[in-house]
């Protein structure tokens, strides 16, 4: 019997091919971070001069912010694909084939991880080309990209859960529109923690997007606090596992509802 890994590879490959065939999607996915990077980079260039900001170059500060925000905003649409495949009957067709059930869920996580890893590398390279300095070197960048991948797994699983639960595009669109900006701005994506109001700092501490940013930034600094990186990364991983488990439960509920 073919292993789950092989089935997952086939199912991931199928979706990768689909993405590659939609050049508009690829272009938008690459252009959007560039816009963030240079829009926010120019707009907020002077904030580093604020006392207490704690960074010397805003671009250095911004790159992790754009990497994580892009991971968030790309992965939270994953549920749309699941929904479309349910509506078109593609899901049911796979379910009547001798396919490992878990390969369907795995493929969604694998696809998001791959896409977001590539996107993150591109943003890091663009930042570097624009003059950003990565004091933490390669290990720091690896942590940043790993954090972006965890965010992608977390929020794609969440989005898949919403998709299978609500079975409505509008619900996904509504929830995403509602969540994207608060999750981004109630974090240190674009603004240093020291300059946030007190209440906002408390909220940010509970925001997984912020954990990813803090872990990434800390690892990318000249003197990483690895214990903190471990705690924040671990928390992120636990949450990703939790939303994945939730999406598996929803997937089983879907199979029962057919």
């Amino acid at each position: 019997m073919t292993s789950i890994a092989v089935h997952t590879t086939w199912m991931t490959g199928r979706q990768l091919k689909a993405i590659a065939r939609q050049p508009a999607y690829v272009v938008i996915m690459l252009i959007q971070p560039v816009i963030w990077l240079f829009l926010f980079g120019s707009l907020f260039r002077k904030v580093v001069d604020l006392p207490g900001f704690g960074a010397s170059s805003y671009l250095d500060y911004l790159v992790p912010g754009v990497v994580i925000m892009s991971a968030l905003s790309a992965s939270m649409w994953s549920g749309m694909t699941v929904l479309e495949e349910i509506d078109r009957g593609i899901m049911d067709r796979f379910l009547v084939l001798p396919l490992h059930r878990s390969a369907i869920i795995n493929a969604s996580a694998a696809l998001q991880s791959l896409v977001i890893a590539v996107q993150s590398v591109i943003i890091v390279l663009l930042g570097w080309a624009g003059g950003a300095h990565y004091a933490g070197g390669v290990p720091g960048l690896i942590v940043l990209i790993a954090a972006a991948v965890l965010i992608a797994i977390l929020f794609s699983a969440f989005s898949n859960t919403v998709g299978m639960l609500a079975r409505q595009r509008e619900t996904i669109i509504g929830i995403n529109t509602f969540l994207l900006l608060p999750l981004t701005f109630l974090s240190t994506a674009f603004m240093a923690e020291a300059l946030m109001p007190h209440w906002m700092r408390i909220v940010a501490n509970c925001n997984p997007v912020n954990w990813a940013l803090e872990a990434g930034r800390s690892a990318m600094s000249a003197n990483p606090d690895w214990a903190r990186v471990g705690i924040q990364g671990g928390g992120l991983a636990l949450l990703a596992i939790a939303t994945t488990a939730l999406s598996v439960l929803m997937f089983r509920a879907y199979q029962k509802s057919v």
């Binding site: 509506d87 009957g89 067709r93 796979f94 009547v96 057919v258």
Partner: protein, 346 residues
């Protein structure tokens, strides 16, 4: 999320006389107390084409979903290709091919990629898989379009691709759920020819669901009429039609006369029986339709019931349906017993 390791060899035929499909007392209830299946039973001999005929919402698709391991019955047993669908779903999935009501082909992938992926999941590899895929694409007239994305296919092409995908691993039992729904007449008759060829040449057992009477009549060697989650009649098309003795007489009445009044007017006549009046339509049976009509018309005229049109026909499956389900097929189809739920058909 487990998979059984053993599976039947592709191309295996069912030995002996045991049916290829057997459903016993299937019951399925959906949320909000919608009873889709209410003790449905039937058996399909190996190598035959069997049609489940009924209006939308009768329970045909639910039956197919249970037999193809997609859904689970609340109670009852289902055996497909000698395997219990509840106990051995993974093995059943190897033994069957499924063409569902909704296409299920990936629109962004090419036709060939769709067939290849299905074959791969079914355990075919390498050159054998490639040869089988090309053979099927060729046979279903898709060789030229094989490299095009399915999104660009016409409805008929998509349907043929669905069948090719279902056949790639040479299943012993093929399920066709409304295979011609939504197709234009030309594509429909092409599909009928193909289904006829399949059953003749490959020794496949085919379970077909349809709400087209003529489709069941033309393709199936055996058929069962499903109404409100139960089988109400079963047999060969000719047997079922034969049970209705004589011709069908249909009258179109002018206006909407009271049914009791019409029935009272016709009661003394011995030439017709099984009279039903619904709105302005009257149907009945007669041993000799042509000779019965004049006396029927005379009786109605005496009773002051004007008639707009009269027809006499040999019995059709529609008449069979009327007899067993108690209503005309088209009416049942318009007002399904089970309301369609959002997100899919039952």
């Amino acid at each position: 999320m487990t998979m059984d390791t053993a599976r039947p060899a592709p191309g295996r035929t069912i030995v002996g006389t045991s049916p290829a499909i057997e459903a016993r007392d299937l019951v399925k209830t959906y949320p909000k107390d919608i009873r889709a299946l209410d003790g449905l039973s039937f058996a399909v001999p190996a190598g035959t084409v069997f049609a489940l005929l009924g209006p939308n919402g009768a329970g045909k698709s639910t039956t197919v979903k249970i037999l193809t391991t997609l859904a689970q019955a609340d109670s009852g047993t289902a055996i497909v290709a000698g395997l219990d669908v509840r106990a051995k779903p993974a093995q059943v999935r190897h033994a069957i091919g499924v063409v569902a009501q909704r296409s299920g082909a990936d629109p962004v992938a090419t036709g060939r990629e769709n067939v290849l992926l299905s074959g791969r999941i079914q355990g075919l590899r390498g050159r054998e898989l490639a040869r089988r895929a090309d053979e099927l694409l060729d046979r279903f007239g898709l060789a030229g379009a094989a490299g095009r994305r399915v999104r660009t296919y016409s409805g008929g092409m998509q349907r043929r691709l669905d069948v090719a995908m279902g056949l790639v691993h040479r299943p012993t039992v093929l399920f066709l759920d409304e295979p011609t729904a939504g197709l234009d007449p030309e594509s429909r008759s092409a599909m009928w020819e193909e289904i006829g060829r399949l059953s003749a040449a490959e020794g496949l057992t085919i379970l077909l669901t349809t709400h087209y009477l003529e489709e069941a009549d033309r393709l199936a060697s055996q058929l069962a009429i499903v109404d409100r989650g139960r089988i109400v009649a079963e047999g060969t098309p000719d047997e079922l039609k034969g049970e209705l003795h004589g011709d069908a007489v249909h009258l179109e009445l002018a206006g909407h006369p009271a049914p009791e009044h019409v029935l009272a007017a016709l009661a003394p006549l011995a030439v017709i029986r099984e009279i039903r009046v619904e709105g302005n339509s009257l149907s009945a049976r007669a041993d000799e339709g042509a000779t019965a009509i004049p006396s029927v018309l005379a009786a109605l005229e005496t009773a002051d019931v004007p008639v707009r049109a009269a027809t006499v026909a040999r019995p059709s499956l529609d008449d069979v349906y009327l007899r067993y389900a108690g209503r005309r097929f088209a009416e049942a189809d318009q007002s399904p017993a089970v309301p369609a739920l959002s997100g899919g058909s039952r």
